[in-house]
Symmetry: C2
Subunit: 199 residues, 2 copies
């Protein structure tokens, strides 16, 4: 039996609303300091009402992180590795875009910061995410080396790690001091120099 | 009247012990999710006993952050700006050293992550810290430009921001995935390339 269309629609809207409010709460206070009761209240739901959709706080966190990743992956087609230089320019475009969604970036930064403790429920996500990003960019750089657009003699995995480190580090500075730090310009300058170095 | 030497000594030891336990607690759980009662218990003190030394949790946080900064500043003489290239090499040595103190680095990372929310009690500290570091390295690079060891035509403030972004970003990856990420080697490779670019 398929669910009643209107009810399914309402259920999906509700899930999206919960993820949206959870994201805002995590952005403001982090994961540990946010209660399920608080998120339920923001949604106009009882706590058991919310737990019908997400049985635990950790399940809700996973949904929030997956949602964030899906947004990025859709927007930047991470599933189809671009060739070396294109991939780097695409990342610069992602950073431009991030300057327009500070709430999302803040939630991600607070959660990644918390996730460095091994028993945090987002630790596995952070580990998987870094490994996925590294693999994606390493493959892109290797493709560029294969077609000669990127010179040989570089270590693509190291470059990949450095690129994502620069992204994360500039995000931190921008969030702490948004009036003084132009994250997009600083990242683009870094990528431009890197492209020269890789040529 | 000067305080009794033994009592003063004991008071200082106690302060150090409290800062040390607070640092460990913040490293494990972040600031928001750590209670003063918990830190007092780790120290074998009552809560009012601890609050005799640090009247609020925010005061304790400030003491922890100041302690961390003092360690770094003492070790790396940040008060006497080094000339451009020397300063960059000194930072690479700092990152080498950080690989031996994961607890300290973890506490700092979790707290900086939390501090991106504007009303967090560590926000002012994070803001001041980034501005101080940027000024320190900018001056060092300018000194190098003045004596000709660093080429003209670069923007020293941008380079300074990028260097600290790389440090922070690599720290995150190393803490999340310590077996796969050699933060010190990655940072040193970045500094080596930067030195070539700056020459």
């Amino acid at each position: 039996m398929t669910p009643h269309p209107r009810r399914r629609r309402r259920g999906e809207d509700r899930r999206e609303q919960i993820i949206d409010e959870a994201l805002k709460a995590f952005a403001d206070n982090g994961y540990h300091n946010t209660s399920v009761a608080e998120i339920a209240e923001r949604c106009g739901l009882s706590q058991p009402g919310l737990m019908h959709y997400f049985p635990t706080k950790a399940a809700l966190l996973s949904a929030v992180l997956d949602y964030r990743d899906r947004l990025d992956y859709d927007r930047f087609a991470f599933d189809q590795p671009l060739h070396g230089k294109e991939a780097l320019l695409r990342l610069a475009t992602l950073v431009d875009h991030n300057m327009h969604v500070p709430g999302l970036v803040r939630a991600f930064t607070v959660l990644t910061g918390e996730a460095v403790t091994a028993d945090h429920p987002a630790h596995e996500w952070a580990l998987r995410r870094y490994r996925t990003l590294e693999r994606y960019l390493t493959e892109s750089l290797r493709a560029g080396m294969a077609d000669g657009s990127i010179r040989s003699g570089i270590d693509p995995a190291s470059v990949a790690r450095q690129v994502f480190a620069m992204m994360d580090g500039l995000q931190l500075q921008w969030l702490v001091d948004p009036d003084n730090v132009d994250m997009a310009a600083l990242f683009r300058a870094y990528i431009d120099e890197l492209l020269t170095y890789l040529s």
